[in-house]
Symmetry: C2
Subunit: 579 residues, 2 copies
């Protein structure tokens, strides 16, 4: 059914823009501030794109809703079918109290699609998590990718199931009471398929780790910021997303009086009021700056939460003994205790990895710890190791259980990475599938060079472009029934259930948390109301000076007759109840 | 089935406390800080109470869950049947975006019970409101009362259906997507049935408008504060309440470093994290102090919202022309415009009614207007008029519609009072039913004297103790089908639907609101995004200098051909769309 469609594109750079619809060219009118418009008959699924000046190539729409043939080809009109939603009674889910589960659509299941992920949602419900966090699904170059190479931020990767598939997944989550976090990347564009700079000044001078800076503060950045903010709001409004995870916000350089993150916060709050459900913004931040999670009336940006790497580093280094790279300042139980008690370890103090002071203290009496996400596995912390090996390949199951207990009894908002709950044996490696041979080779060489510099042999580093690297990273669901996986899964379920049952565990006020530890004997005891989490990080049994009825453990603890001490087996934890 | 029950009561005053269970006396043991305990066999519905020192009277439990025979008789053990809840998938409802409906259980329906209220919930769903606010249901003296005379704050008034009835109502609301606000009174105790001072130092020296001050800051106030905070948390936890309306917080005198309201906010946040759903605190406040609704990290108490009388006064005085009492500073359109734009009218400025400076400005760039409740009818604003007459008895339907439009298109959180939506013809009068003749007479005389001082004839003032005063105040649901009620109801429905549909109407950022008005011609135009609300408060047609397509009105407006002006009939409003 052909109807007149109003096409528009922001393209202040070219002197002429033509619209291309299903093979036909149409003139466009330039209106104020670089917007070009044309009203042209089109089908609901017409292919379309734009021709800039005298170039002959049809470019995709920067705001394309769909890229059926990849990021280099024309866009396709698309609107979601509103009638298929079944979540009309969904009133949203607030972030405080959440347990988050991060997953990558392509490797979460063998099929690697949204629909296949739906089949596994009941596993998540039984596990007890309440938010599903989906790694970026925006359109990127090639079939397989972590998602951070996106170039068309409004489109949904076709191999996953496209926009309709994402709609089905969100709807299925809501039907099961699961909220959905979507990972979005606004700090750079991928290395292939980025035609945005031909349209307008999307890029600024300079580069961050992943690419050219985005022009969010320079001349003509008004519409670049709108491109970002509109994108964020669209996920909430059209796809019923509950929260966004903002990738690497430390790479968003903005010196204007109203930081992009504050603008996002204001507009998200406005939309949440209209939609009458909580919409949350969660930053990935390497800044250790409480400003991000402080309310705007306290001079902050008003984001709801941020990832907290310090808890990861403190737990990981203490349990594993690793000290390389950014783990350098971490590892002691005193560091672990301090971090658990204060949220940030580096809080205006010297960071040896950075060679400078880093961070600022959080006012723990006023900022709830639920604003910080705590985790011991993420796509980055696993996938950015040289060989993408999970902790289970170098730690025993008891050590994995200790890490789980530290996070899942913490005042922070816990997050798991897919497969962590059963100590998945599969790696999560860095994979790409750039069709362009030169780009593929450059990516592979860059990856290998990075780790060679740290003493790895080239041959040991998986080739990101090798399809096997992607396939190898898929979860092996069949191993769930085997030891030690099934036992670890039970432990995760029990920890999450206990967190749900006992209010003291999710208590977000850090004032109430106290820690005792012994760095020589390698035990740490964390007091949470009537409960005590006692962890023995060493290999041999140790006596901790705390009693109580054991209600959950990895290896059975042995309380002494005075009720003032308990023996914890090596590489184990116990939760003791003194109520 | 008799089992051992652990009875306990905080009673630091008496030297001896005996437990009374179903006619049998049992000794109690005093433990630290005035708590008395006894483990005694009891039925699930045993009657019980306490005997203090050598007094022979069985007193009800200050924390009594049930008072089957009124507030002077023994308490009854009671626990809710957890298996009857059907709201397991309820994830709560955030306050921003809400439209609240205040009702009084006794007069909302002819039967005056929770169960009868359930029968009317579909009317509320069709109307479009999202929160039901229930006037106090705690146990009070006599059968009928507004509820602010409560003396046993944990019990639910039996005539309404007791605790089980409240459970059924909340469950029925949640099944329909309606959240529930419960009105709770922590600033005084009622004039009869208050035995608390015999148990402990619940009262402080001095009195507020309604009774003796509560000891929330003096010696031994720790357990008085726990009595209050535990009460609040219990409604959330056991009765699945979504928000509390805290009655007259300006009467909570607390000079300690952590105000009771901040303590409530901290503990509510903790519980909300555990329950994983939004729990909101809404203050009734006469302070105009932004501290109440500022986040704790900005030095505030962290409440979610407060009632805003200034918007009421500004709208009511402008539309009705009334200027008596506290309306003295209000009435002009300039005052109405200022109040709509800034939230508070008195914001560090002179209040003639008070003879002093009042209030403090709100930082409208950082505190969303959704934190302020706006209304033109409440139980107080109607019921505390001499004869409890609703605006419909002295204003025409067009004027009622203007008031509705001003509130329901505002950036504030709108609240209606039951029956307002059809301009109910029934009054809402002040009624009591004290069984004690002297108390009844004193109450009636006090009421009459109050209004005689303002020039009313004694015989015109309804007798609060007259059962007819209560009966007269019940809504007459049969009038809904008649004019002008049905037309007004349609107008309310259309306004609420438009608020739902158009995001600019609920936009809580006051920065975006602009107002134009003419005090001589008595029109005011409020700009909300692409929409304009044009109101003509005078009786004759007036031309307002704004165009746009009329999409909702009371009497049909007449846009002129220039699209720059519109004629609004007398006592009417129109919403014009310029998108």
């Amino acid at each position: 059914m052909s109807t007149t469609h109003q096409f528009e594109v922001w393209a202040p750079i070219p002197n002429e823009v033509q619209l291309w619809v299903d093979g036909q060219r149409h003139p466009m009118q330039r209106e104020g501030e670089g917007w070009w418009r044309a009203a042209v008959p089109a089908e609901p699924d017409s292919r379309y794109g734009f021709l800039l000046d005298d170039e002959d190539r049809v470019l995709p729409d920067p705001r394309s809703p769909r890229q059926p043939d990849g990021v280099h080809e024309p866009s396709q009109l698309h609107t979601l079918d509103e009638s298929t939603w079944t979540d009309g009674d969904w009133t949203g889910r607030q972030l405080p109290g959440a347990v988050i589960y991060e997953l990558h659509i392509g490797t979460f299941t063998p099929a690697g699609t949204f629909d296949a992920a739906i089949e596994r949602l009941d596993h998540l419900v039984e596990l007890g998590v309440t938010f599903v966090e989906i790694m970026p699904v925006n359109a990127f170059n090639g079939e397989h990718n972590w998602g951070y190479d996106g170039v068309l931020w409004y489109a949904v990767h076709e191999a996953y199931g496209g926009p309709d598939g994402l709609q089905r997944l969100v709807d299925a989550c809501h039907r099961r009471g699961l909220a959905v976090v979507l990972d979005v990347v606004y700090n750079h564009l991928g290395p292939s398929g980025n035609y945005l700079p031909k349209f307008g000044p999307y890029l600024a001078d300079g580069a961050n780790t992943w690419g050219a800076l985005i022009n969010i503060a320079g001349p003509q950045s008004y519409d670049v910021r709108r491109f970002i903010v509109d994108n964020a709001l669209r996920w909430f409004r059209e796809f019923h997303i509950d929260a966004l995870r903002l990738d690497a916000v430390h790479a968003l350089t903005d010196h204007t009086a109203i930081h992009l993150l504050e603008q996002l916060s204001v507009e998200t709050h406005r939309l949440a009021t209209h939609l009458r459900r909580p919409l949350s913004l969660i930053a990935e931040s390497d800044l250790n700056d409480p400003k991000l999670i402080s309310p705007r009336s306290a001079g902050g940006y008003g984001l709801n939460a941020q990832w907290n790497d310090d808890v990861h580093h403190a737990v990981h280094a203490a349990v594993s003994g690793e000290r390389q790279g950014y783990y350098g300042d971490f590892g002691s139980l005193s560091c672990l205790a301090h971090t658990l008690k204060h949220g940030f370890f580096h809080a205006g103090t010297y960071s040896s990895f950075r060679g400078r002071a880093h961070g600022r203290p959080i006012d723990i009496r006023r900022i709830p710890a639920s604003s910080l996400l705590a985790f011991t596995c993420t796509h980055d912390q696993i996938g950015n190791r040289a060989i993408g090996d999970r902790p289970g390949s170098y730690l025993d199951a008891g050590q994995l259980a200790i890490k789980a207990a530290l996070v899942l009894t913490s005042p922070y908002t816990p997050m798991l990475f897919m497969g962590e709950e059963w100590g998945a044996s599969t790696p999560f490696q860095f994979f790409t599938s750039h069709p362009e041979p030169e780009l593929g080779q450059a990516t592979a060489l860059g990856r290998k060079a990075e780790f060679e510099a740290h003493g790895w042999a080239t041959d040991d580093i998986p080739d990101p472009q090798d399809p096997e690297t992607f396939t190898r990273s898929k979860l092996a669901w069949t191993e769930l029934a085997d030891e030690p996986h099934s036992r670890l899964l039970e432990c995760y379920r029990a920890l999450i259930a206990l967190r749900r049952e006992r209010p003291e565990l999710s208590d977000p006020w850090l004032e109430a948390l106290t820690v005792d530890y012994d760095d020589d004997e390698r035990w740490i005891v964390i007091q949470r109301g009537d409960l005590r989490l006692a962890c023995n990080l060493g290999p041999d049994p140790v006596v901790v000076p705390v009693g109580g009825a054991p209600i959950l453990w990895w290896d059975k603890p042995d309380p002494d007759e005075t009720e003032a001490a308990t023996t914890i087996p090596g590489h184990s934890f116990a939760i003791l109840d003194r109520s």
